[in-house]
């Protein structure tokens, strides 16, 4: 598969929806760039960029929204997915700044970490793969309760080395659970390249050993992601667990505390811009004349304005009350 060549869009998509997703992707990029800049200004303590992963996340989300009844166990590079679920940019900025009203944890955790149950997202921790058995447990409960919900478990290539990844996939296969494992493979676990993480050339090669259906795709191609996830979620809903490996680029360093020039060649850093999902979707939109360049400029200006307003809003928001330190240690 490649970018949808003509206007025979996959089911569930139309011109308007594609434009809407393009605008979402643009917003995510602008937020991502903004929080990185604010980190350099000393305002945002930490940022994990999702640049390069946007199509993998928004394509998965669009497919799940079309089919309905999905629950997301995300990881820390999933800004696009979290934004796409309907979280607005003001709340996102509150979270990056650790301000009162942060919807994920009210300032207890790193940005966008905790839970946003109104939008079906849980991401409890930074420990890679820890969310995977939890996603499996969620799927187990759905199956026991005869509910249609499919769990989507997002993780990186780094997490695929963890024992909990193995255990989660093994259990999902044994019990034929409604779950899609989504590996956003950017080929680096911080600085450690894929060849020092695994002997297989694709994470999906491991799937048969777990009894999972699997596919490896180009995760920078929104349409390919969308179509693959439509199929994967439908399979999972019939209790066929699936692993979808999305090959992507990590355009930015691991986090704002990392410098990838220490371990990546300059040519590699430059060349991966060719696989920027935002550029690719924009090219598709313009080449298919969904919009003009001047309209894109208008959309971009409007998105920048939204990000500016969100930034101002969050910067003037209060921090959580110090007296809330002991709140919610236990549930009633």
């Amino acid at each position: 598969m490649s970018l949808a060549k003509d206007m025979n869009l996959p089911k569930g998509l139309n011109k308007q929806k594609v434009l809407q997703i393009y605008e979402q992707m643009l917003m995510v990029r602008l937020i991502d760039e903004r929080v990185w800049a604010m980190n350099r200004q000393g305002k945002v303590p930490i940022a994990a960029s999702c640049q390069g992963h946007e199509a993998a996340q928004l394509g998965s989300l669009a497919a799940s929204q079309y089919l309905g009844d999905c629950f997301f166990f995300t990881y820390y590079r999933d800004l696009a997915l979290k934004f796409g679920t309907g979280l607005n940019e003001k709340d996102i900025m509150l979270s990056y700044l650790g301000r009162n009203g942060d919807p994920y944890s009210n300032g207890r955790q790193f940005p966008l970490q905790g839970a946003d149950l109104s939008r079906n997202v849980i991401q409890l921790s930074n420990v890679v793969a820890a969310g995977m058995p939890q996603a499996v447990g969620y799927a187990l409960a759905s199956k026991i309760k005869r509910e249609p919900t499919v769990s989507l478990s997002f993780f990186g290539d780094g997490a695929s080395s963890q024992g909990e990844c193995h255990e989660a996939m093994n259990f999902a296969g044994i019990h034929k659970l409604p779950i899609v494992f989504v590996c956003e493979n950017n080929h680096y676990a911080i600085s450690v390249p894929q060849n020092l993480q695994m002997t297989v050339s694709e994470v999906s090669e491991r799937a048969p050993g777990y009894g999972l259906s699997a596919i490896s795709i180009d995760g920078s191609d929104f349409f390919q992601v969308y179509e693959s996830m439509l199929e994967a979620i439908a399979l999972a809903r019939r209790n066929v667990p699936v692993l979808v490996e999305m090959n992507v680029e990590r355009i930015m360093p691991h986090t704002s505390d990392d410098d990838h020039s220490r371990y990546r060649d300059q040519s590699e850093i430059t060349n991966m811009r060719d696989r920027d999902p935002l550029t690719k979707l924009e090219q598709w939109i313009t080449s298919h004349k969904l919009t003009t360049e001047s309209e894109i400029a208008t959309i971009t200006a409007s998105c920048k304005q939204r990000v500016n307003l969100a930034t101002e809003y969050a910067e003037s928001a209060p921090e959580p009350e110090a007296s809330s330190l002991y709140d919610n240690l236990f549930s009633k």
Binding site: G114, Q134, V136, G137, I144, N170, L329
Partner: protein, 328 residues
């Protein structure tokens, strides 16, 4: 009333709660067909089916992680590890994840799960079937920790734990499973988590303990009353977290002397915390040094009989310590 062993009382509690609430499930290695290595879950697979009593792969990290995820989706899982010593691969999901669910989501999410753990020694289990693991959980905010010592307490606490909306670490001393028997009411009852119980009234010395050691303390107390007319009060913590410091302090105010007895290692154990709390909050009532009779600081009790005996506090040793503290 009916007389039950601790293992029977635990089985009864599981059975009653699974009957009452279809969201309660059990998962772990050997819990189904075999009925658990200690037979705590015997008969439950037949009664409740393989969807609710799940024989898992031998993989503690995912047993805990899957239970946690299921708890996010409306179930009340009761995962079991066979021996506390095998728990370590699952610790990330308990200490790293479950304990922070409510706090880390600012109360949006909760994790109603009960982690059943056979622990403790005196059964020639050596370094990997005898471990006391309570301090790790005792140290962790966001967890509740129970460590009952009688069938009545075990049943009432386990039923409360299963109904609690927070992760509860439920420690069952494996030597007491069949050794300790006691009366249990036929009608339903619950016991509050975080409430200690005065198992013997006394006026001269307060002994605080839990689990197997509680029974050795009672033996020693009866001996000291008979032989030396020393009247020891015994506080059974029953829950380690939340710790019922109120009951301990009240007792110390009455007796003026405090001894803490546990099988777990001395350093950084439950006794250290109780010592600090009492020294801080009841200093002026103390009429002697706070004594700790605990497992020594070696990994756990070794396999050889002589070494296991050398590790474990016993009623004779506790009796001698009672006399020394009384004489102070």
């Amino acid at each position: 009333m009916v007389e039950l062993s601790i293992i029977e009382s635990i089985r009864e509690a599981l059975k009653e709660e699974m009957t009452r609430d279809t969201n309660v499930i059990i998962l772990g290695e050997d819990v189904g067909q075999r009925g658990g290595v200690f037979l705590a879950t015997q008969g439950l697979l037949e009664e409740f089916g393989s969807e609710r009593v799940i024989d898992t792969p031998l993989a503690e990290a995912s047993i805990m992680g899957i239970a946690l995820g299921a708890s996010f989706n409306g179930l009340r899982p009761v995962p079991e590890v066979e021996f506390a010593d095998f728990l370590w691969p699952g610790l990330n999901q308990i200490i790293g994840e479950a304990s922070k669910v409510s706090y880390g989501t600012n109360g949006a999410l909760n994790a109603p799960m009960v982690i059943r753990i056979p622990y403790g020694g005196g059964i020639r289990g050596g370094l990997y079937h005898s471990q006391n693991v309570e301090s790790y959980f005792f140290h962790t905010p966001g967890l509740k920790v129970c460590a009952p010592s009688t069938p009545y307490d075990a049943k009432g606490l386990l039923k409360s734990a299963i109904r609690d909306n927070n992760p509860v670490v439920f420690l069952e001393h494996k030597k007491t499973y069949r050794l300790v028997r006691g009366e249990v009411p036929l009608q339903e009852y619950l016991l509050p988590i975080g409430k200690a119980d005065v198992k013997k009234q006394g006026s001269d010395i307060t002994i605080v303990s839990y689990g197997l050691m509680l029974h050795y303390c009672i033996e020693a107390a009866h001996l000291s009353l008979k032989e030396d007319n020393i009247n020891v009060e015994i506080v059974d913590l029953m829950s380690l977290r939340p710790l019922d410091t109120g009951t301990v302090i009240e007792s110390v105010k009455k007796t003026g002397k405090l001894m803490i007895v546990h099988e777990d290692n001395l350093t950084g154990g439950v006794g250290a915390e109780i010592s600090a709390v009492v020294a801080n909050e009841a200093f002026e009532y103390l009429d002697g040094p706070i004594r700790r009779v605990c497992g020594p600081d070696v990994p756990t009790m070794p396999f050889a009989k002589s070494l296991e005996d050398a590790y474990l506090p016993n009623s004779k040793l506790i009796y001698e310590e009672i006399k020394k503290l009384h004489a102070y």
